[in-house]
């Protein structure tokens, strides 16, 4: 693929409808265009698989991945992370294990024999991290509890709230937003454990881009301080990350007795 494309294709993930996302990220687009001297095209897609494949085949230049998706994609393609959202000075975030208040679950150990809801199989914070938290207490899916994949973070919270699953795991920031919005009632759902910090969603780029361009992109992201640009990311800025930072995610694979190179 072209190492120095005249238009940079940048992919975003939706947490709102597409038109809104593009509108909200207009500032980012303008900022990057000015900084890099190139045209920037924003793309909104709902599916990691198509993002990974597009990147591998040079149809995308920059993309914003989940940590586990990144690790998976990295095995098969030539991409590198360079920046992650910085919140409260950190480029990490946490996942939570939640339980229905009437299920009688108060600590992780109580989950034994219960139904547990996860989001997507390839999700970090709604699958891999909570599952590892359970594994640390010697609870394994299929053996000690029943797992259900419900597709998304919000669906996890909803299934726990209406009692179809007694417990579930999802990203802490998303859980907090759901509570704030009033979709999840604190009297029905409670947090029973919070994970240790994991590296945030990385911004990644194709490794076969021109090295000068790569450097320019890297600095452009790290130097963002315009609140208008940062607002859609709910971030104070972007911090540098490297591939090594994601080894913790890779390690989870071994903890769960999953070979991540085969995963």
């Amino acid at each position: 693929a072209n190492p120095d494309p005249s238009t940079l294709k940048v992919a975003l993930l939706p947490d709102e409808n597409a038109a809104t996302i593009i509108k909200k990220n207009k500032a980012l687009q303008d900022y990057l265009e000015k900084k890099l001297g190139k045209k920037v095209q924003l793309i909104v897609t709902t599916d990691y698989s198509s993002m990974i494949e597009a990147m591998r085949h040079g149809r995308l230049d920059l993309a914003y991945f989940g940590p586990l998706s990144y690790v998976l994609a990295r095995q098969k393609s030539d991409i590198e992370p360079f920046a992650a959202v910085k919140q409260k000075g950190k480029t990490t975030y946490q996942a939570v294990l939640i339980a229905n208040t009437s299920s009688g679950i108060n600590k992780i150990g109580d989950i034994a024999g219960k139904n547990v809801a996860f989001g997507d199989k390839a999700s970090t914070s709604s699958h891999l991290i909570p599952k590892s938290m359970l594994a640390e207490k010697n609870l394994y899916a299929g053996k000690n509890y029943k797992e259900h994949f419900v597709g998304a973070h919000d669906a996890v919270a909803m299934s726990v709230q209406n009692g179809h699953a007694q417990a579930g795991g999802l990203s802490k920031p998303i859980y907090e937003t759901l509570v704030q919005r009033g979709m999840i009632k604190p009297q029905k759902v409670k947090v029973i454990a919070t994970s240790k910090p994991f590296p945030q969603y990385p911004w990644t780029m194709r490794s076969d881009l021109n090295p000068q361009l790569k450097q320019k992109i890297r600095t452009a992201f790290l130097e963002i301080n315009d609140p208008a640009v940062l607002k859609p990311f709910k971030a104070e800025g972007f911090g540098a990350v490297t591939d090594k930072d994601y080894n913790v995610v890779r390690n989870l694979g071994s903890l769960l007795k999953l070979d991540l190179s085969k995963f």
């Binding site: 990691y48 698989s49 494949e53 998976l72 139904n115 997507d120 199989k121 994949f149 419900v150 209406n162």
Partner: protein
Amino acid sequence: MSLSAEFSPFLRARRLAWNKALVTIVILAVVVAGCCYYAGLFDVERLTEGFPSLVSLIGEMFPPDFEQWKSWVKPLVDTLAMSVGGTAIAVIVSIPLAVLAARNTSPHPLVFYVFRGLLNGLRSIPELIMGIVFVAAVGFGALPGVLALAFHSIGMVAKFFAESIEHVDPAPVEAARASGCSSLQVIVHGIFPQVFSQMADTAIYRWEYNFRASTVMGMVGAGGIGFELIGSLRIMQYQEVSAILIVILAMVTLVDAFSSYLRKKTQ
């Protein structure tokens, strides 16, 4: 010449009809071409450029990797049960609905419009939403899957049944009416024997569709082979993906052959 004069009104009428058809065709062609252009289908360069990627991606799917086959047995059985159950319910509900929604059997034009509208409405609710709604209502497992498949299928199955009924040969129907059959008897003995094989075609197609629709069901927590498929896709095991696709194809072909055998036997 007087002969020509006698024929000319007919020729003129035919020319007119042909011109009208031509205008319609041209308008259609322009609309379609416009849409294709809008979608970038005339961008030959992009299309040809894409070809190597297509080949390499498909190449990655070979050879199919059947190593995990043992873990697919239960999901396959689940999917089979869900798709058969969902389709059966849809077919049973669709038969009376189709009669009410077919122009030639509906008791009143108003009834016809109401039921056509109902079917249109059912079809416009995506399976995903059906799935989410039913998972919310009855919890995880095969049950919400069956319900979602059934409800979503009705919209299509009943529409197709109704269309078959509308295309029926009116002659034997008339004979049934003329021999004093009640409306229900006319439908059952004059129309159904004529549309039976088309209805079976539709039902089998829909079963097949529902078997494959388990992808969606997998996404909302109803399990099945589709969930395995998405799982393998998510973790980029493309050789496994192709293996599962082959399994699905084999299952569908098998049941297809079985049902066409069944139809031949009973007819």
